[in-house]
């Protein structure tokens, strides 16, 4: 049932729906205002979604995350560390100037400059040099082979002359996208209008209006009241069933590009024991969390690899929910309830741990509350700690957590989710997980150009991780969109509309 819906949703995302109300702006609900409209320094989901319409990248990722030509008409890879891109001719920026190789070079050079404070800088640090061979050709030289590069090159290209001339892209965006900024009322709405000179020569007649409503419930109500045309994840699961049954609305659930997971801190004295990590993960009732708390929008996860990824292998599985099995595993590791107080203990020490997450996502708090209940029922004295995002993330970053509920988004390549997190030298390896075999496999996956080598490497690494359990992946995040009748466009699995906004 769910799977069927997923399939049809992918089809919808790729197509334009009939019945367009052309002149009317399409109004999309957004949970936060964009912080900036400069693609190089974007941070929040709204900024991603708006910038995706305002700017084009060298490549465009399709529904299966394969890079397709966009501003780059074609590319080649003459050596493992050299990439050549041929740019499309006659591409206009919104200010009327023409795009050339200097703009591309400028975009990535500034991203690599620490002073710009670009959030995605680390994705591009394997780049040694980027240079303009001629006005239509760009050459990227890498320090070492770096297979994921193409997946990240959908980054919006900015106009060099405009920025160097003192233009401020953060509030006055100038891209080559099929939409340009009409007005931006901070905290309230961002209005985009069609850019008639778009290189595709084929832009829709309508513009877009991103309307900011912070509260999920209120946003869903606004959609029902007809004041929004499209709402999309994040949504309250409680609203999803009701909206799905409403004849006035179409809806689509797609496999998203994110995971929700438990970060089990392997450097914690208690949790350093893999047997204990395994027993604990058998107390996570994924079915109930996904089915009841997330109301079936997400999918039960089996491993670190996403089903939408080319590396996915359904045969790699982490431990499943099995309280009896967990009990045996605890006993095998020496944990028993010797004093009969309902909690397990060993050498006079009670099995107690803290589950933590942040206060911004009520669904995660509910999931954690449920996990805590299951642990309590099965002899683990688990408590919950919830703080706001900056405080929580500072604790996790410092490796002070025990078990933290977190998520990763925009996993367009397995490297993005695995290298920094599980490599001994990984920058996001907060728990200090270290496995020489995994290190080697991740290096191979990053450097190989042959996709079959990469698949083999990531599958082998995923298998080891499903056994070592520095992460326990609870769910593959679903992406949900609702749109009212007469709306002609639907976003893709990341909530992006770049391809939908061209005919």
């Amino acid at each position: 049932m769910n799977f069927k819906r997923t399939l049809s949703a992918l089809a919808i995302a790729a197509l334009m729906l009939p019945g367009a109300a052309l002149a009317q702006n399409i109004r999309l609900g957004a949970d936060v205002d964009a912080g900036t409209l400069d693609p190089r320094v974007m941070r929040d989901t709204t900024a991603y979604r708006v910038i995706n319409l305002l700017y084009d990248g060298l490549v465009q990722l399709d529904a299966s995350l394969q890079p397709n030509p966009d501003l780059a008409e074609s590319w080649s890879n003459p050596e493992p560390t050299v990439w050549m891109f041929n740019l499309r001719e006659g591409v206009k920026f919104h200010d009327g100037t023409t795009l050339d190789a200097d703009d591309v070079v400028y975009t990535f050079e500034t991203i690599l400059d620490p002073d710009l404070k670009a959030r995605f800088r680390s994705l591009f640090t394997p780049i040694e040099t980027i240079e303009a061979v001629d006005p239509q050709t760009v050459r990227i030289t890498l320090k070492e082979p770096y297979a994921p590069l193409l997946s990240y090159l959908d980054m919006g290209i900015v106009p060099k002359d405009f920025v160097e001339g003192g233009g401020d892209l953060s509030s006055n965006p100038v891209g080559t996208g099929s939409m340009k900024l009409n007005s931006w009322e901070r905290g309230s709405r961002i209005v985009l209008e069609p850019f008639a000179d778009h290189w595709s020569g084929n832009v829709p007649g309508n513009g877009f209006e991103f309307v900011v409503v912070g509260d999920n419930t209120a946003r869903a109500q606004a959609f029902e009241a007809g004041d929004l045309d499209i709402i999309q994840s994040p949504l309250s699961p409680q609203d999803i069933g009701r909206l799905a049954e409403d004849d006035r609305f179409q809806n689509a659930i797609m496999g998203g590009l994110g995971i929700t997971y438990l970060n089990i801190n392997v450097s914690d004295p208690l949790l350093a024991d893999p047997a204990l990590r395994k027993a604990l993960s058998m107390l996570v009732d994924q079915e109930t969390i996904v089915g009841q708390i997330y109301e079936g929008v997400d999918q039960v996860a089996t491993s670190i690899l996403l089903p939408s990824s080319w590396a996915y292998d359904a045969s790699i599985v982490q431990p499943r929910f099995d309280p009896a099995g967990a009990g045996e595993a605890f006993a095998a590791a020496g944990w028993t309830d010797s004093d009969g107080n309902g909690f397990l203990d060993r050498d006079g020490e009670e099995l107690a741990l803290t589950l933590s997450t942040h206060s911004e996502d009520p669904n995660r708090i509910q999931a954690l509350e449920y996990i805590q209940f299951q642990m309590q029922e099965n002899g683990v004295n688990a408590s919950i700690s919830i703080s706001d995002w900056p405080a929580f993330s500072a604790g996790v970053r410092a490796g002070e957590h025990q078990v933290a509920l977190l998520g990763w988004l925009n996993i367009v390549d397995p490297d993005r989710l695995m290298y920094a997190q599980f490599h001994s030298s990984g920058t996001l390896n907060w728990g200090g997980y270290s496995n020489a075999e995994v290190d080697q496999l991740l290096d191979t996956g990053r450097a190989s150009i042959d996709v079959n080598d990469r698949i083999a490497a990531y599958r082998a690494a995923a298998k080891l991780i499903a056994n070592d359990l520095p992460y326990y992946v609870i769910a593959y995040q679903g992406y949900q969109v609702f749109y009212s009748e007469g709306v002609s466009l639907a976003p893709d699995a990341r909530g992006m509309m770049r391809s939908a906004a061209r005919n």
Binding site: V32, D33, G35, T36, D38, V41, R43, P114, D115, K117, R119, R121, S122, S170, S171, E185, R186, G187, S188, R189, V211, V212, V213, G214, D215, T217, A218, R219, Q221, A222, E224, A225, G226, D227, L228, E360, S387, D388, W389, P390, A391, F392, S393, A394, G395, R397, L406, W408, A420, T427, L428
Partner: protein
């Protein structure tokens, strides 16, 4: 009068200085690092340190506080870490929407509160009185966000009368247009502002109706009112001219104190109705550790609070000729 104004303004300076220090101290206590939040969860430690340097966060706290005071003395509120714009601009864009909804909420609550209070006082002891006072009690007993969401459900979804979210055209220009015979914008603005303003004004309306009622009852019981009655003046005029003036004095003084709470209380209302005001900005700034922005918002609130109370004192003197400020 001028001397009085100057004194009041000077009095604000030490308060502002203290307020900056208190806010700064709380910010120091907040766990979490703006630089880390700025870069997102996938930031490297090295990148975070770079940003800390760029933002000046690597300096000791007394230097940062000192620098802030220096900038403030030059009228510079600094640059927001997250909004990519000067704090003054960010606040400027949000101030007008917040004032709009606060002023309309105040008007609604004063009108509603006075009507209910007067009616209840005149019909003291009747069923009408009981109903009005029950409203007043329930009004202060209801959590604001619950009331807001119920209101939205009723008027935007069930009855489909009002837009559920967002702000219409700016109110002041719309009012101007309406005066020159083009009321469309004003209508649009009012339909958008109705629910947020009602949500925000509910508690106030309840408070005012009680104040008005009790103040009127007090006045109605006094000798000079009895005398006026004996002289054969119309009961309605007695009520309006004599009692209401006294009631207004109470309302004005309490409203001055409540206006600050009204501005701050807009946080929940704004988040429900997607209203682009200062309250939402304040919450976002706290949850992102945007220190310059928090400082700016707090100072703005404080200044507004001080100004309103100054106006209240002037208004007080206008209503009651016995009061003079030297």
């Amino acid at each position: 009068m001028l001397g009085y104004t100057v004194r009041r303004l000077l009095l604000f300076v030490p308060i502002a200085v203290g307020m900056v220090a208190v806010t700064f101290a709380i910010m120091q206590l907040l766990p979490g690092d703006p630089a880390a939040v700025l870069l997102g969860e996938d930031a490297t430690e090295e990148a975070i340190q770079d940003i800390r340097r760029a933002l000046g966060l690597d300096q000791p706290w007394w230097i940062r506080l000192g620098n802030y005071y220096l900038d403030l003395a030059h009228g510079d509120l600094g640059v927001s870490y997250f909004q990519n714009q000067p704090v003054a601009d960010a606040i400027g864009q949000r101030l007008v929407p917040t004032l709009e909804v606060a002023v309309v909420a105040l008007l609604i609550s004063i009108l509603l509160g006075i009507c209910l209070g007067v009616v209840a006082a005149i019909r003291r002891g009747s069923a009408i009185d009981a109903c009005c006072m029950l409203f007043a009690q329930l009004g202060v007993s209801m959590p604001v966000f619950w009331f807001g969401i119920l209101l939205m459900y009723l008027f935007a979804i069930q009855l489909d009368m009002l837009p559920s979210i967002g702000r219409g055209p700016p109110l002041a220009p719309a009012l101007g247009k309406a005066l020159t015979g083009r009321p469309a914008d004003l209508w649009l603005a009012l339909t958008h502002i109705a629910m947020p303003a009602l949500t925000l004004g509910l508690t106030n309306a309840a408070v005012i109706s009680r104040l008005v009622r009790s103040s009127m009852l007090e006045t109605l019981g006094q000798d000079y009112i009895r005398t006026a009655k004996a002289k054969g003046l119309l009961p309605m005029r007695i009520v309006l001219v004599h009692s209401l003036r006294n009631a207004l004095l109470t309302v004005v003084s309490v409203m001055g104190l409540r206006f600050g709470a009204l501005l701050g209380g807009a946080v929940l209302t704004e988040s429900i109705f997607g209203w682009p005001g200062l309250g939402q900005l304040a919450v976002a700034a706290i949850s992102q550790r945007d220190i310059p922005l928090i400082q700016g918002v707090v100072l703005t609130f404080a200044l507004a609070f001080a100004l309103v109370n100054f106006l209240v004192d002037l208004l007080y003197a206008a209503i009651d000729p016995r009061i003079r400020y030297e």
